[in-house]
């Protein structure tokens, strides 16, 4: 925190640092334990004592998860849906945020309040009518059907508006003088000036969609259309001791996002804080 304080309270400071560290290790331990268990053969998994490292590490659970389930297809579905939702949501929110921030038009204030208000509305209360809607459109068991109800993220518009508000007016006025169109101004000035925001919001939107459970779970019945989040819980081969096989599927499902986070740690943390409307 600060140098003087740290000097005065070294002893207690050390204790607190140590506690934080121990706590962090305990916190992450279940993750470690899940991964380690997935590398154990059946008989080792259920040994009645604690073994922090597999005696005979094996990949057979992973091989089984890959060969007996459609995990590859689920990956493709998850990636397609997450990218689709991200691209569409970011695009429409960017346009809408820009209009609210920079243009004067009737109903602007009403629209802004509507967006602010829908922040607190629970979309999971709408599952029945989402289901009816998507069924009537004939989109159950399709990527479009999984995506449609997930396209509403008012918070993304809110963040865009705030950032567009902060772009100095001079840029805009100069562009208008040059007879640039509104689209030109948006895509040549406002968007490039806020690339960081777009990246951050895309990351967050991708994570949200990748992790969504309830809606994909309701709208998909065919194994080959499931996203990975749903697939790994819906299909189980309760065959003998099945824990390690389930855990290996879990690791495969969590790994891409976890790795992405570890590689782009700073970007992701920035993105998350931003999504709450805080400028980091």
């Amino acid at each position: 925190m600060n140098a003087m304080a740290a000097q005065r309270w070294t002893f207690w400071g050390g204790i607190i640092t140590a506690l934080t560290l121990v706590w962090a290790i305990l916190w992450a331990f279940p993750l470690y334990w899940g991964v380690i268990s997935s590398l154990k053969p059946d008989d080792e998994v259920i040994r009645p004592y604690i073994e922090l490292w597999p005696e005979t590490p094996t990949l057979e659970n992973y091989i089984s998860a890959v060969t007996t389930t459609q995990i590859g297809t689920w990956y493709v579905n998850s990636v397609a849906v997450a990218i689709g939702v991200t691209v569409i949501t970011i695009f429409i929110s960017m346009l809408c945020g820009y209009a609210i921030s920079q243009l004067r038009f009737p109903g602007r204030i009403a629209l802004w309040w509507l967006i602010l208000a829908s922040f607190m509305v629970p979309t999971s209360a709408l599952i029945i009518n989402h289901f009816v809607l998507v069924a009537n459109l004939g989109l159950l068991n399709s990527w479009a059907g999984i995506m449609l109800p997930q396209l509403i993220h008012p918070v993304i518009i809110i963040v865009y508006k705030q950032f567009f508000d902060q772009v100095p007016k001079d840029f805009r006025e100069a562009a208008v003088m040059d007879n640039a169109s509104e689209f030109g101004i948006l895509f040549k000035i406002y968007v490039p000036m806020n690339w960081g925001v777009t990246t951050a919001l895309s990351i967050v939107c991708f994570i949200w969609t990748w992790n969504a459970f309830l809606w994909p779970f309701l709208s998909v019945t065919r194994t080959e259309m499931m996203t990975i989040t749903v697939g790994i819980t819906q299909v189980n081969d309760a065959f003998g001791v099945y824990y390690a096989r389930q855990l290996s599927a879990a690791v495969l499902a969590g790994l891409p996002v976890a790795l992405a986070y570890l590689f782009f740690q700073r970007r992701v943390t920035e993105a998350i804080t931003l999504s709450a409307g805080i400028k980091g």
Binding site: V121, P122, I128, I152, I157, E173, T233, Q246, L247, T273
Partner: protein
């Protein structure tokens, strides 16, 4: 500056239209429909007869609905405030660290947040498994009787609340860290000169300055946790779903398992109104608390 207001309106319309179209289709229309069918005896798919307030009156006498409301409230109570406090504590601990060390420790706390709920479920179901879970071996070693965490009524919701805090704390921690970073160092230096204790410094400086973030975290958590479904559904597999009933689960059960769209919609409307009322109330309360602070 000169503006051509007609062109501007047209452009605005074009820019707003895509969002508005999707918003109307995937949000406004389903919401209106939800209210409408809650007054009918419709099945999940298909039309029904108008039954007035029947579906709502029925809820008054429905023990399962009461249990769902109670469990949801209980769950919110166990997650929102404790979760926020734990996240604050962790953030305070992490904020003292520096550089790579800080990044590593933060990563350990943050990782669960980016995992899908089903992965969280599989990991904890295994860790706390009554027969084979490592937590039970630890209890054995400590000489404490094993606890059937996800299979008993008394332990289920507290345990799911704990897992939920573990899963979602990362988000709140990041917000708190951002808040802590924005407090100027000079204020702390001044406090140090005054020989104020660690606790006084926290109470007089950190906590008040952090209040906007705290209230934000509380609001986000509250709205999120009222909608609890995924974890309860998953951890109830092969167990006792009816004992662990929560509101969204009840909507799901009525609509998708019992094919009673109208009655399910009545539950959904109740939840909808509840969330809106609670968030408005909380918003007002937090504002009041803030004003008093000033």
């Amino acid at each position: 500056m000169l503006r051509n207001s007609r062109t501007e309106r047209l452009v605005a319309l074009v820019l707003v239209a895509p969002f508005l179209a999707i918003y109307l289709l995937a949000f406004v229309y389903p919401t209106v429909q939800m209210f409408r069918i809650s007054f009918t005896d419709a099945p999940l798919i298909g039309a029904g007869q108008w039954v007035g307030l029947d579906n709502y009156l029925r809820l008054d006498n429905d023990p399962m609905f009461r249990r769902a409301v109670w469990n949801t409230a209980y769950f919110v109570l166990m997650t929102v405030i404790p979760g926020t406090l734990i996240a604050l504590l962790i953030a305070l601990g992490v904020s003292r660290l520096k550089g790579r060390f800080q990044a590593t420790v933060l990563a350990l706390f943050f990782l669960p947040y980016i995992l899908p709920v089903s992965v969280v479920y599989l990991i904890w179901d295994w860790t706390l498994n009554f027969q084979f879970g490592i937590a039970m071996h630890v209890l054995d070693w400590l000489g404490i009787p094993r606890v059937p965490v996800f299979k008993s009524r008394a332990w289920f919701l507290p345990a799911v609340a704990g897992v939920t805090i573990w899963w979602t704390a990362g988000f709140s921690i990041l917000l708190f860290l951002a808040g802590l970073r924005s407090i100027p160092v000079e204020i702390y230096e001044a406090a140090a000169l005054d020989n104020s204790t660690r606790w006084t410094t926290f109470r007089r400086i950190t906590w008040p300055l952090l209040w906007p973030i705290t209230s934000l975290v509380l609001t986000i958590q509250l709205i999120l946790q009222l909608k609890i479904f995924d974890q309860v559904y998953l951890f109830s597999i092969g167990g006792r779903p009816n004992d662990n009933m929560v509101l969204v689960y009840y909507v799901f059960q009525k609509a998708f398992q019992q094919n009673q769209g109208g009655r399910a919609a009545a539950v959904a409307v109740t939840l909808f109104v509840l969330v809106v009322v609670v968030s408005v109330l909380q918003f007002q309360l937090l504002r009041l608390a803030e004003r008093r602070r000033r």
